[in-house]
Amino acid sequence: MSLRSPLSKAVGLGSAKHGFSHWWWQRVSAIALIPLSIWFVFSVVCLVGGEYQTAVDWLSSPFNATLMLLFVLAALFHGQTGLQVVIEDYVHTKWVNLSILLLIKFASALLAILATISVFKVVLGG
């Protein structure tokens, strides 16, 4: 016999109240990354070993800059959700667990903003 109320079962939220959205957004970012990562690998192969100016011209196109930002931000978000699950699975000491999770979130935010500002700087020709 379950002591959960019918409403609690139907809503399907556990004690943390946000389990589904973590799972869902991990999938949404995964699907977005399918075409984006193929585009990214193709682009890197085209730029590898090339001149600075070639790479700048390439990233200066609004189309490439948009896809690059989408790729980096989706990758950072997806990576952060994945690392969180790994930490939650293996690190059981509460304060270590919390410290690493915070570190991952802060590092992802830092990388996301660094990437965004860099791409904008190239696009705007600074």
Partner: protein
């Protein structure tokens, strides 16, 4: 009486299954790719930093260890991509039959190796042409 019961998993005679190995590899490649994101951001920073910063960034990849890392990231990306698609099929409740699991697992291994090989073939031939 209790001594005769097999302990599970009995590691000396434990035969690893393709399915569990691919599952571990999915997590492993995921963590490895996440560790690569700072390098990707460094590339963008170098692009924003000017010609000198970009040349310095490129110079960091003139050694076998860095190239091995990039090769690893290429394979990890394609493996995680292909196996991720396999995961998405499971998410909608498809492909759970044992036979299908093995077929899709082998397909993922084959396609990820092929995609890595094609990518590096083009990258190396471009580098060879430039040099």
């Amino acid at each position: 009486m209790q001594k005769e019961r097999p302990l599970s998993p009995h590691l000396q005679v434990y035969k690893p299954q393709l399915t569990s190995m691919l599952s571990i590899l999915h997590r492993g490649t995921g963590v490895f790719l996440a560790l690569g994101t700072p390098v990707l951001v460094l590339w963008l920073l170098a692009l924003a930093g000017g010609a000198e910063a970009y040349v310095n960034f490129q110079a960091c990849f003139n050694n076998w260890f860095a190239q091995l890392l990039v090769f690893g990231w290429t394979y990890a990306l394609f493996y995680h991509l292909c196996n991720g698609i396999r995961h998405l099929f499971w998410d909608v409740g498809r492909g759970f039959e044992i036979e299908t699991l093995y077929t899709s697992g082998k397909a993922v291994m084959l396609i990820s190796v092929l995609m890595t090989a094609v990518t590096w073939y083009f990258a190396v031939s471009r580098l060879g042409g430039a040099a």
